[in-house]
């Protein structure tokens, strides 16, 4: 533990770790020192001069180094000038006066200065009501202005820094929190100050503007209404909003969020989600979320939502009752016997997946997870478990990231791993191409696509890298599917698991394997015992298929074809998709915003989300639909209470043992302090009052004997002449069903692409942005050429879910 230092703030004795800033020490002791530029997550800069206080230090005898005593107490010498509490570190015996007349005058002065050119358009400002400047003005300001209104500086009020974030230059108080967040935390230094003096203003110098997937966070920590999102801008007043705890469902990080809702005339008197805000969980996302999590919730509310059950009659989907629809499904499922196949995705909750899996077991069917990635059995065996937290990793821990572009696939992990590396963790980034995380790596390992397993198996033998890895106290490996299909990633997972297992990096906090899954609850599906099937087309042929939360028809023409040849297809989803269009029965499911449940993150943390808006139409929660079908089949599955399903689940799934629904709602005090009354300090991030979740145990952590099955890797793809090796990669913004309905993201999503090295393009005679035809494995499509020299010659990257159905490495013809 760090050395403790005791000081006195406003007469109160405070003991805090050495190195703490006076402003933070005060906060810990419940004493508010007003701040604007200071943010406990950012390096101190002392620029706004809001936190002026009087600081006295004990006088030391030069010869002995002892305190000079005066009337029995150390003699305190105060500095002639006020000092900034946000840049001065605590010292033993220090005396701080935050409310002395001198300090109060200084704070008043700073507020007066800040308001001289401030437009004071609180009545139309998004931040009004949750604005640190408003709050601190009332608490610490002089109450009136001596500045002539006509002499205010005028600057542009509607500046798009990109299409997602807008800037009001008049409201900006030049605290640089946004710039510092981008530089220090996000690592995307794409905004900065231009001009100087009173004309100082924020600009974006990237193309596209504000090119960072973390941009929305700047609107939370901006202490005024200068930065707003195009999503929420002029959308509602903060005091009209209700707050509901939720979990982001877009990726395996599982960021804690708050859904702000209101009932509004604009939406026909309905209660709707107005914005998604980060909710503090220092073990998961701290106080940040990525822009996908912030902006891609619109699919839950659009016209495309399914509102009532439907049955195909005379070739047309027609409205049906729940009873009729579930009965029809049940009859067919029962009839199918062994030919019953369930395909569910990680978009569903643990409870949904548990009921589906139970149904498959009772009905003698198969339960497959809809995933492009394998290896999940291993993350249950040697996955990270209880106590694992990127926030506590530093010197002594090795983090290996292999075959994953974390910035695109799990942005908040990227951010936290970058921070862990800055704290001294040993970061090894292994990939066939350059990724953004390389910049923070202690070592990068470059292999050719297809050599993933070998690269991992050789890691420990590799000189300095191997030594560092083996000598670490802790090691985690995050493996993904960059350039890999199901069997390739499964083989990679096995190699990673073996490396960890052989070297004792399992079964302890901050040790183990993490899958960078495509969906939020893939890990949950693996824990429930779902399996992955490489050849789904074959698995569908002639079978009775129950699909939940997946759209294989849109994703892959081959699967569409296979489903045409299926015996019966029941589809359960929140919205109309290409797959519901071909279904025999359609079952409308509730969106995550409308119900409660739990999700298991990639770090195997089970977290609760809560209902925020009323249910759309007649939609039901997935677990309830499954239960209703089951009942018609004579199978009893809990269908009314999520908590009851969870408790049954916890009793039967080993890794969930000991967890209760209530325990997931527990919270503990967190630092930094954020929340409603502390807006000025941590920003508008929500305090966590509804649960920080709990981590699962892994088999290795339970002391079970673990053996790692060896998985053969798939045969190497060898492109013939005039062919390229095409590999699938994941982009943050794709054309998936949960993103595309959010129109504000369309510019970032763009069109179908094929990414080539300039030399490859040259030899093919194609140019940047040129439309080319791409054909592989019976798939023919169009895509725009994008060039980068960060990949190898002869390789074509094809982003997943962008219109070209690529599932694994293939030989491709580009014309």
């Amino acid at each position: 533990m760090a050395k403790q230092v005791t000081l006195t703030i406003d007469g109160k004795q405070v003991t805090v770790p050495e190195g703490t800033l006076v402003a933070d020490a005060a906060k810990m002791a419940g004493i508010d020192i007003p701040v604007f530029c200071h943010h406990p997550k950012l390096e101190p800069v002392g620029m706004c001069r809001m936190c002026l206080v009087e600081i006295g230090r004990p006088v030391r005898d030069r010869a002995t180094g002892q305190f000079v005593m005066e009337n029995g107490a150390p003699k305190i010498q105060f500095m002639p000038k006020l000092e900034t509490a946000c840049t001065n570190k605590v010292e033993e015996g220090m005396v701080v006066l935050t409310r002395s007349q001198k300090a109060v005058e200084g704070q008043k002065g700073t507020i007066e200065f800040l308001l001289t050119s401030h437009p004071l358009d609180c009545p139309i400002c998004d931040k009004g009501g949750e604005c640190p400047l408003q709050n601190l003005t009332v608490a610490y300001g002089p109450g009136k202005s001596r500045f002539l209104y006509d002499e205010k500086m005028h600057l542009d009020k509607q500046v798009p820094l990109g299409e997602l974030i807008w800037l009001d230059r008049e409201r900006c108080i030049q605290c640089a929190r946004c710039i510092r967040f981008q530089n220090e935390i996000a690592g995307d230094p794409v905004i900065g100050f231009d001009e100087r003096g009173r004309a100082t203003q924020i600009v974006s110098f990237s193309d596209p503007g504000f090119d960072s997937v973390f941009s929305g966070n700047t609107t939370d920590i901006c202490p005024v209404g200068a930065l707003t999102t195009s999503d929420f801008r002029f959308g509602a007043r903060p005091w009209e909003l209700q707050a509901h705890a939720s979990i982001c469902t877009q990726c395996p990080v599982g960021c804690n969020t708050t859904l702000n809702t209101r009932r509004e005339a604009k939406s026909g008197g309905r209660i709707v989600v107005k914005r998604v805000m980060p909710r503090q969980n220092e073990d998961v996302n701290e106080i940040w979320i990525c822009d996908k999590g912030r902006f891609a919730y619109h699919y839950t509310e659009g016209k495309q939502r399914l509102t009532r059950p439907m049955i195909r009659k005379d070739g047309k989907l027609t409205r049906a009752s729940w009873d009729a629809a579930t009965k029809l499904a049940a009859e067919n499922f029962q009839k199918a016997k062994k030919n019953f196949v369930i395909l569910a995705s990680g978009r569903l909750s643990n409870e949904d997946l548990f009921n589906l899996k139970s149904l498959a077991e009772h009905a003698d069917g198969k339960a497959y997870i809809y995933s492009h990635m394998g290896g999940g059995e291993l993350t249950s065996l040697v996955g990270v478990g209880e106590g694992t937290n990127f926030g506590s990793m530093g010197a002594g821990t090795t983090i290996v990231v292999v075959a994953s572009d974390l910035y695109e696939e799990a942005p908040v992990w990227y951010l936290r791993i970058k921070q862990a590396a800055a704290r001294g963790a040993n970061l090894i980034v292994m990939n066939a191409r350059e990724t953004k995380l390389d910049r923070y790596a202690s070592f990068t390992v470059r292999y050719a696509y297809g050599d993933e397993v070998k690269a991992v198996s050789d890691l420990a033998k590799k000189g300095k890298i191997g030594d560092t890895f083996l000598k670490s106290e802790n090691a985690v490996i995050l493996y993904g599917s960059d350039g890999l299909g199901v069997s390739g990633s499964a083989a990679l997972a096995s190699a990673c698991a073996k490396l960890l297992h052989d070297n004792g990096f399992t079964g302890r906090p901050n040790n183990g394997l993490i899958g960078v899954w495509g969906r939020a609850n893939d890990q949950g599906a693996w824990e429930m015992g779902f399996e992955v099937e490489e050849d789904l087309a074959k698995a569908f042929k002639g079978k009775t298929v129950y699909i939940a939360g997946a759209d294989p028809v849109a994703d892959d023409p081959k699967l569409a074809k296979a489903l045409e040849g299926a015996e019966f297809v029941a589809v359960q989803d929140v919205m109309t998709t290409a797959t519901t269009e071909i279904a025999d029965v359609v079952l409308p499911a509730q969106a995550f915003t409308e119900r409660e449940g739990t999700l298991t993150s990639g770090e195997r943390r089970v977290q609760r989300f809560y209902p925020a808006v009323p249910v759309t139409g007649e939609a039901k929660a997935d677990f309830a639909i499954t239960s209703q079908i089951a009942r018609h089949m004579g199978i009893v599955l809990e269908g009314t209470s999520v908590s009851a399903v969870f408790d049954i689940l916890a009793a039967s799934v080993k890794s969930f043992e000991g967890l209760t629904y209530a325990r997931l709602a527990e919270v503990r005090p967190q630092w930094p302090i954020v929340g409603r009354s502390d807006l000025y300090y941590g920003g508008t991030t929500y305090e966590n009052t509804q649960g920080m979740g709990a981590q699962l145990s892994a088999a290795a952590g339970r002391g079970e004997k673990v053996s790692i099955p060896k998985v053969e890797k798939e045969a190497l793809v060898r492109p013939k002449e005039k062919e390229l090796l095409a590999v699938p990669v994941t982009k943050l913004y794709d054309r998936g069903t949960t993103i595309l309905p959010s129109e504000l993201l369309h510019e970032r999503i763009g069109e179908a692409k094929v990414i080539l090295h300039p030399e490859t393009a040259k030899s093919l005679g194609v140019e940047e942005d040129q439309k080319v035809s791409v054909s592989f494995n019976g798939v023919n499509g169009e895509a725009a050429v994008k060039l980068t020299d960060t990949i190898s010659v002869g390789v074509a990257l094809i982003p997943r879910s962008m219109g070209l159905a690529i599932r694994e490495p293939v030989a491709v013809k580009v014309k």
């Binding site: 001069r49 002065g109 050119s117 100050f193 100087r196 003096g197 100082t200």
Partner: protein
Amino acid sequence: MAHILLRHRDIPDIHKLEVYKKNGGFAAFQNAVTRMKPNEVTEVVKNSGLRGRGGAGFPTGMKWSFIDNKNWPHYVVANADESEPGTFKDREIMESNPFQFLEGVAIASYAVGANAAYVYLRGEFWQIAAFLDEKIAEMEAAGYLGKNLFGTDYSLKIYTHLGAGAYICGEETAMLESIEGKRGQPRVRPPFPPSYGLYGKPTIVNNVETLTNVPLILANGAEWYKSMGTADSAGVKIFSLSGRVRKPGNYELPFGTTFRELIYTYGGGVQDSRKVKAIMPAGASSSLILVDDEKVLDTPMDYASVRTLGADLGSASVIVIDDTVSMDWLINKTVHFFRHESCGKCTPCREGTYWMSHLTERIHEGRATRADVDLLLNVAKQMQGKCLCALGEFSTMAVVTGIERFRQDFDKVVKA
């Protein structure tokens, strides 16, 4: 007396390497590198009483001794930004006596263990930068810069770096940011450059004139240097004289020379033989010295004596103001300068200079009331002691002393 800094005035062609060498050039550097330990060099400079000529007057040897020897590498940066209005001494040194300055840089570098030194020049000095580059190349060719100097394992490179037109880049931490390629904005101090400087490494920043003293101090000894000037202000100083005088220019004189001598003996007296009304001893950043009594002119120009007049000697850019000048005009000028140069990083300076500029403009143009003058004084005082760097403080000096010491000038121009 022969010049110590402006030696080109006595020795023609001293900007030529051969001439400089013939006049004892580089002997001090060679002697230091081959015969002295770095801390011995620092000790000599400490004993000489040399204080920084960039404005703050900080003891140079003491600054060098603060270099953090636990953190490497070290850097030396010569502050050749010279942007204080009324200051034009570093320019003359670099243009005409460049080798003595560069030798000073070299000795300082040796003393603090730096193998790289930067000369940071204001953007307008691009010709001087090109000239210094030539001189540096000549020194390299002659074996005074480069690898393994004088057969030792000490190596040194000197680089020039141009600013881009910001007064604030004369402030040492803003200058370091600028060299690093960032916006020229001051850093919070502490930590000070000797522990956290260029690229976060221990760095010594010294003014051009400060460094130009060093070769002769080493050549002639600390005692020799201390024999000039006064007890608290040792040695000689270049006074940049400007304003309403007949012969403006640089005058190298011992500390302790009186204002009267500077203005009348050397500067040829006030234009049109008018009366001195006020003196700004440190350029636009100065407090205004009220010359209501002839005796004020007999004050010796050294750090301590000038302070008794309620002003700082600063960089000793003495601007003489006669009785044709009204202070409302003058502070309107200085405030507009600082408003233009405020980097905008901290609130009181960014907002305060902007606010003050509106007030001084209204006052000067006769659109203000007495209450506005009081408000201006109050705003200036509200800024004092609150700003992140000294620029904000500087911007208030002429305002506060102008109003407090020359109130009648303001009362004359305000509305009833």
